[in-house]
């Protein structure tokens, strides 16, 4: 019965180093007994929580901190599972390597990272690396569908700046349901520039990940697939509390909700300092008392807790201040959008300020980095995306939300962007509702919002921008490095209901200097040895051929392995396959022609 728990051999290569410790391990390393005792106490309560369902009645629950994975090989197993979230019966959830949400992946800029994504769900899914600059075939958008049981092995060189990113399902029309289940995780990128700054970076101690979501529970404690929840959760914890040290603390915040924006502030209205926009450091910290964070968006902020040991403060969503055009600013008594948190201020997280934890960062840095953005004059083209309420477009109802008056069509490429183009995208909204617009592949710099320069906290690199009703937002981006005539990148509203409803488009980045594929004949491949052991090798009859994609399919028709642009020099690791006969479908890089070869695994 080995296949009950089968793993490819390369699934065991994950490096659990210092950053691979659990939050508990990390806290055990702190040198402050009082601090440690307090955390140990809280953490032991956290463990008891799963065993004692009455505990979730407490005023606050210890906030869960996702485990971390680091190194260069990352094993992510997506499963249907369950979690004790509220008192009573458990909630059916989706998890990655756990029972709700997934591990925080820690990447270093410049590393090549290899992912082993195994889909054990009862349904197809995809996993999109939100904010990562990578080849479209590795991007995990709606075209990289991972059937149940399949292993997908994308890899790429991390070129993103240090910052907070995330990964989540992107299966068209199923994104909302799969995100609500809890499938997703954070990505932290580190680089030399960020390393050199005096910033808090001890994960779970003075560098705290906060994934903001809300959920609606039915009478049986199950998640309802609804745009808004009645219950706020941070890192999957309801009514969370956490203890932070009395020094400068960094909060990495993701709006992981499917619809709601959170107008973030502290209960004492203290100033906090925003240090990143979605895709890296700002030039210098921006002091604010509120930040409106929308779905898909991330910020990192510093909060100064020097000398405040023994006090507490709440992180609050000041959503009563939001107008009804912002998701979360409306208040509906009944219907699909009815929820207990609409147009209201509510606590998100209770922060206890404990003792100092050394080495402590005690000052907010004056400067962070020097960003250089492309000049508007460098743009080869300006593309205008009209954001509208549907106005009766074909196939849409009377009031869906649309991009350029069209519903998403997975078989239609909306734009072809020449490789290395610098482009201005103008998002011109006549919609009555605010939409967080997200683009894959690139980070952009906002040139203007209704003709004016963006506020300082949004003047860095971003990949999500909230386009409010009747606003025009212009951004500039360079489409570098990765051309692919087949696999497109997406752009869409990050409100999952809107995206699933067709508020999405796609573009390919095309290398215009490449050879016309039609002029190239399809080439054959030989597999050896055959029968094979744990590795099988591929030889192209034309030595210059490159492989674009390999799928391994068993005789029952199941796709078991999906290998975009596989690295072939060391052979293909097939140790996860049970003995039997398989078909390898090989797609040629230049011609995109598919060749089938049969092999036998011993």
């Amino acid at each position: 019965m080995c296949f009950l728990f089968m793993f490819c051999r390369n699934n065991t290569r994950s490096v659990i180093n210092r950053e691979g410790m659990t939050a508990t391990d990390r806290l055990k390393q702190t040198n402050h007994p009082a601090f440690m005792r307090k955390f140990s106490f809280l953490l032991s309560l956290a463990f008891l929580q799963t065993g004692l369902s009455h505990f979730v009645h407490a005023q606050y629950n210890p906030m869960s901190i996702p485990d971390t994975l680091s190194g260069k090989v990352f094993n992510l197993n997506i499963r249907d599972t369950f979690q004790q979230i509220v008192a009573g019966n458990q909630t059916i959830t989706g998890g990655i390597n756990g029972s709700f949400w997934g591990p925080t992946l820690i990447f270093r800029k410049g590393d090549s990272v290899h992912m082993n994504v195994h889909n054990f769900l009862n349904d197809s899914t995809t996993l999109h690396w939100h904010g990562m600059h990578l080849p479209a075939v590795m991007d995990g958008g709606p075209h990289q569908v991972l059937p149940p049981g399949a292993l997908w092995q994308p890899y790429w060189k991390v070129t993103n700046n240090a910052g907070t990113y995330w990964y989540h399902p992107h299966l068209h029309e199923m994104t909302e349901a799969q995100i609500i289940k809890g499938i997703g995780g954070l990505i932290i990128v580190r680089d030399a520039i960020e390393d050199a700054l005096a910033l808090p970076r001890r994960y779970g101690v003075d560098d705290i990940p906060l994934v903001l979501t809300d959920r609606k529970f039915d009478a049986l404690n199950q998640f309802q697939i609804a745009p808004y929840g009645d219950t706020m959760m941070v890192n999957g914890t309801v009514r969370p509390e956490y203890t932070i040290p009395a020094q400068v603390v960094r909060l990495r915040i993701l709006d992981g909700a499917t619809e709601r924006s959170y107008n973030i502030g502290f209960s004492d209205n203290r100033t906090f300092y925003v240090i990143t926009s979605d895709d890296g450091l700002l030039d210098k910290p921006v002091p604010l008392t509120r930040y409106l964070l929308s779905p898909g968006e991330r910020i990192e902020l510093l909060v100064n807790c020097n000398g405040q040991s023994g006090t507490s403060v709440n992180l609050v969503a000041y959503n009563a201040a939001l107008t009804p055009q912002i998701a979360g600013g409306e208040s509906f008594p009944t219907g699909l959008f009815a929820n207990a948190l609409g147009h209201k201020d509510f606590n998100m997280l209770h922060l206890n300020i404990g003792p100092v934890s050394s080495p402590a960062v005690t000052a907010i840095p004056a400067a962070l980095t020097v960003n250089t953005f492309p000049a508007a004059s460098a743009a080869a083209v300006t593309r205008t995306i009209n954001i509208t309420d549907s106005a009766g477009a074909p196939g849409a109802g009377p009031l869906a939300f649309l991009l350029n008056h069209k519903l998403f069509d997975i078989n239609y490429i909306n734009y072809t962007v020449p490789l290395n183009n610098t482009e201005i995208w103008e998002l011109a909204s006549t919609s009555t509702f605010a939409h967080p617009f997200h683009i894959h592949d690139v980070a952009f710099n906002i040139l203007s919002i209704n003709g004016a320069a963006p506020p300082a906290e949004q003047a860095g690199w971003k990949d999500v921008v909230l386009v409010k009703a009747n606003q025009t937002v212009r951004f500039i981006a360079r489409f570098e490095d990765y051309a692919d005539a087949i696999h497109p990148f997406m752009y869409h509203c990050h409100i999952a209901l809107h995206e699933d409803g067709g508020m999405m488009g796609q573009f390919v980045v095309n290398n215009t200097s490449s050879i016309d594929p039609a002029s190239l004949p399809a080439k054959g491949y030989t597999l050896y040895p055959n029968p094979a052991g744990d590795h099988i090798y591929l030889k192209a009859q034309d030595g210059s051929s490159q492989v674009y994609y390999i799928s391994v399919i068993d005789m029952a028709g199941r796709t078991l392995m999906m290998l975009p642009r596989p690295e072939l020099s060391a052979g293909i690791d097939i140790s996860c396959l049970p003995p039997g006969t398989y078909i390898m479908q090989i797609t040629d890089e230049k011609t995109k022609a598919k060749t089938n070869a049969t092999f036998f695994k011993n």
Binding site: Q90, E173, L336
Partner: protein, 201 residues
């Protein structure tokens, strides 16, 4: 106002997105007959049980983490009610094309490791589960022998706490006890939850 219209539209859109299986109440209906292969190789049919008072039919599978919480409870129900002429059988409706672990061989290994005291049958074509309109694993149907027919008298969850049986209200046991007493079941349908049964198109 516009948002209200959007809400209505979105509801329509949502309806088309949902892949949740439709819940169909089978209470009072005659149970579909079946003839399926058990892990010991025998063919087991509904009518093999015609001399019993009732039959507890559990739809479950090997891989589902929530269903796996219940394996001891299946054994306990079988132990308690088989002597009272209400035996228990389990049927695996999962698509073994989707899940290699759900083949008959996988079931044999799983049943042995869980020391199942009852027949564990494979619904390879999913036709039996479809006829019962089963939606999740684990999900129970309590059949009662009335006027030489098998009538469905309870459907749904085993109880209301997967991880903590000691805190749970034992719905199936309460239903069978009521039927044995000749009483009606207070709430003959309870929503089941667990892993969705993905029916092959």
């Amino acid at each position: 106002m516009k948002r209200y219209c959007t809400a209505i539209l979105s509801l329509l859109l949502m309806a088309s997105f949902r892949t949740e299986p439709k819940r169909i109440v089978m209470l009072g209906k005659e149970a579909p007959a079946f003839s399926l292969t058990a892990t010991d190789g025998r063919i087991v049919q509904l009518h093999d049980f015609d001399s019993a008072k009732g039959l507890i039919v559990v739809f479950t599978c090997n891989h589902c983490p929530f269903a796996r919480l219940y394996t001891d409870r299946f054994n306990a129900l079988a132990d308690r009610y088989t002597p009272l002429k209400v035996p228990l059988i389990a049927i695996n409706p999962m698509d073994s094309l989707l899940y290699e672990t759900e083949t008959l061989e996988g079931m044999r290994v799983f049943a042995a490791s869980m020391q199942y005291h009852f027949s564990y049958l494979q619904d390879r074509t999913q036709q039996v589960a479809a006829a019962f309109h089963a939606t999740h694993t684990p999900q129970v149907f309590v059949l009662w022998r009335e006027n030489s027919k098998w009538i469905i008298r309870y459907q749904g969850a085993i109880d209301n706490n997967g991880q903590h049986p000691e805190l749970a209200a034992p719905f199936v046991a309460q239903a069978v006890d009521a039927l044995l007493r000749g009483d009606t079941i207070a709430q003959p349908e309870r929503l089941s939850l667990g892993c969705e049964i993905n029916y092959r198109k």
